[in-house]
Each structure stands twice: as C-alpha cells, then as structure tokens.
Assembly symmetry: C2
Homo-oligomer: 241 residues x 2
C-alpha cells in the first residue's frame, strides 16, 4: 500500500463509517489469511489508522473484531439467498448458488478456516453465527418449495443438502477451485433434485412439493436436462422394473 | 456397582489386558457423557481400580486416555465397513450401514460430542483419527464400486455422501432416534443411489460404475423398489421430456 493511497488519509469519519471501515479492512484480511496469522497491527495498517483507534472501536481486541467481521460476512451471505419466488425453482436455486459461490470464491481462506473448525477464534458465538446462516439457507429453500412447517423427512433432506453445499465448497477450495463454479453450481442443483426426488419416494409431503416444483420447470431447464442425461445411464436396467 | 462385581476384583492382569480394561471403561463413559463431564476418578471407579493405576497406564491423563479410547472406537467403527464384495451393492451398503448405525446408537452422546466439535479434548490428533475413519469409509465404498483411482467428480460424490451419513446420524440422535434405524438405513442407501445417478449424468466414469452396479441389482432389491416409487412422483412431468 502506498503512503498516499485513499485508505491512509485520516479524513473525519462518523462513528458508523469508521466502524464499517475497520470491519471492511478486517474482512479483507480474514478472507485470505487464517485468523491466527492476523494481528490488530495488520488491521490498523490495512485501514490506514492507528492501533489504539482499532482498540477504541473494538476494546475486546481481535476476538471482538473477528466476531463483528464474521457477523457482517454472515449478513452479506444471507443476502445471497434472496430470490423472488417466481419462475422455475431450479433457476432460482442456480442464481442463489451463483451468488453464494462468488462469496466462497472471494472469502476462500477465511471460509475454509471458519468451517474446518479448530481455530483459536472459534467460540460458541461464532458457531451460533454460522448455524444461523445454515438455518436461514434451509428456510429460504423451503419457502421456495412453498413449505412453511416441513415434516422431519423433508426438513432433514433440505438440511443435508445445505451440509452438502458447504462440504462441496470446502472440497472445491481444496481442489484449487476445480471444476469451475458454473459446473459446481449445476451439479449442486442436480444433487438437490436427486435428493428431493429420492425422499419423495418415501414421503408424501415431499412428493407433493416435488410435483408442484416440477410443474414450474421447463423443457429447456436443468431438470429436463438432467432427466435426458439420466435416462441413457439407467436405460439398461430394465430387469429392475 | 456393588463391591463384589467382577470389575472390582484386583486379579492380576497382563499389561495389555489392564490397558484394554481401562479403555473399555473409558469408552463406556465417553459414549454417554461429554468428555468435559468425565474425570479420571470416574474412569478408575468404572474399571474398579485406583486413580494412580489409571495414571500409570495413561501418564498424559484424560487427554491421552480420550485419544486412546477414540482410536479404539475408530478401529471398531472401521470394522463395521467390512463387507464381502459379493451380491447386489446396495445390499452390501445396507449391511454396513446397519452396523454403523448400531455403533452410533451405542455411542450416542460421545459420537455427537466428538463430531459437533468445540470439545475441550479436541486436538489435531483427534481430528486426524476422525478424518481417517471418513477416508476409510470412502475407500470401502469405492472398492465396492470396483474403482481404485477415482476422478474428482466420483470421489467428491462419495465423500459428500459420507458427510451426509455423518450429518444424518447427528440429526437422528438430535431427533431422539426418529425415524427408526431401518428406515434411516434405507433412506441413506436411496440417497446414495440418487446422488450417484445424478453425477453419472455428467461424468462418464461414474456412469460406467453405475451401469456395472445396476447390473448386479435385483428386481426385489432397494434400487428396483426406489425406481417403482419414484416413477409415480415424476410421471406427471412429461412436459420436461
């Protein structure tokens, strides 16, 4: 950073602006390095302010700053899930996943460090923030399936798909972001369709939700494409029917 | 425990027998209470020996005893996966899952505490033991699919199903072991079939593995049953084909 870069100027900021500036600096650092490798000096330098000023805003030090940055990242992530309840459900899911995967791409190291656990800054509060995001994700999915009070089987299927998305994101980061985000997104949508259809085979509530969702899908959409590619794979198994 | 119960007698045991006796006592305790709620006194009392004797075998105290007990549980768990490579693959998977779910049922509290993380006894060594079990599970599944060097897509699908099994087990414990273990087992098998078929739709290696596996399935088996129950659910979606 050069001495005259914009963030180094000490222009007067309101309390909220200053707090937000420090959180942005912290998020940028926590995104690409593990929390244990970041000091308050790094945050101060990144924001172009003094260390005491960081302490004035976050008297709890790095732990408080980390939790505030995580809370702010969690809000950003939850905004990824917002999607109008219109059009084929798999299209909505694909758009939300695009935004989610862009977030994962942007916060790669911090995302891995947070979710792989064992970090020095992990507390019951950070766990609660992460669980809140998972719960919000599941609620969004169920809302798009027009379900308000899901039974155990449907609820579990959705929760497990959220777990799959999270674990797949970690594997994706671990594999150097291979395959590309668009393929990962399409594959995650297909895995959701497959999981839901399999649960529908033993749960009437899920079967109704699947029928309703399928009626909104189109012949040029992801479900139709999946069906056309699945049929040749299972086509030889006529002995099972 | 009464004073004259067998484990209270101080009969001479070999070093290995004594060590094994202490591990069994520790495992019984760690299975049903969180590690932080167990003291070495509890272990000594359970095994019917003195506290110094426990320390003689485990000079590292509770941490060392916990890791040794976990290693012993991990071996037990890996034995659940052993299954002859004969017959319909879903039957083999169902039998391995039966043994796995019996293990989860038996070690319920310890299983949850271990996998939900944040425990005081969690270290890089305990994480490595758990990861070793996950890796072994994935290798077993791939071996039954006749795959030795899986590509990224198939490898990821299997790893994510292992994650699903683990997460489903935690939800199952959390929901008071509902639905019953047999239904959970059948549902996990069906979810695996669905995930694999969906991946086969975009990956030739997986498609070959699925075709080979389907040829070994029978008309009275789990895949046929799933197919018969899926068809009515998707039957109305002819507009997609």
């Amino acid at each position: 950073m050069t001495p005259d870069s914009p963030t180094r100027t000490y222009r007067r900021l309101s309390i909220e602006e200053r707090r937000s500036q420090l959180l942005i600096a912290a998020l940028e650092l926590f995104a690409h390095r593990r929390p244990e490798d970041i000091s308050l000096d790094d945050v101060a330098e990144r924001a172009g302010v003094s260390r005491p000023l960081v302490y004035r805003y976050f008297p709890g030090g790095k732990q408080q700053l980390y939790e505030a940055a995580l809370g702010s990242a969690a809000e950003e992530l939850q905004q990824c899930f917002d999607e109008a309840p219109e059009g084929p459900p798999t299209r909505r899911l694909a758009r939300a996943l695009d935004r989610y995967l862009a977030f994962v791409d942007e916060h790669d190291t911090g995302f891995s460090a947070l979710l792989q656990g064992g970090s020095v800054v992990e507390t019951s509060r950070t766990t609660a923030i992460v669980d809140g995001v998972r719960r919000a994700a599941a609620e969004h999915v169920l809302r798009h399936l027009d379900i308000t009070t899901p039974g155990l089987r449907l609820r579990t299927t959705v929760r497990l798909w959220i777990t799959t998305v999270e674990a797949a994101s970690l594997i994706w980061l671990d594999e150097g972001k291979q395959p590309d985000a668009a393929e990962l997104r399409d594959w995650l949508v297909e895995q959701f369709v497959a999981a839901l259809v399999a649960t529908a085979a033993r749960d009437t509530e899920t079967a109704t939700a699947v029928r309703t969702a399928l009626a909104l899908e189109t012949a040029d959409g992801p479900v139709a494409s999946l069906a056309r590619r699945v049929l040749p794979v299972v086509g030889d198994a006529a002995h099972l029917l």
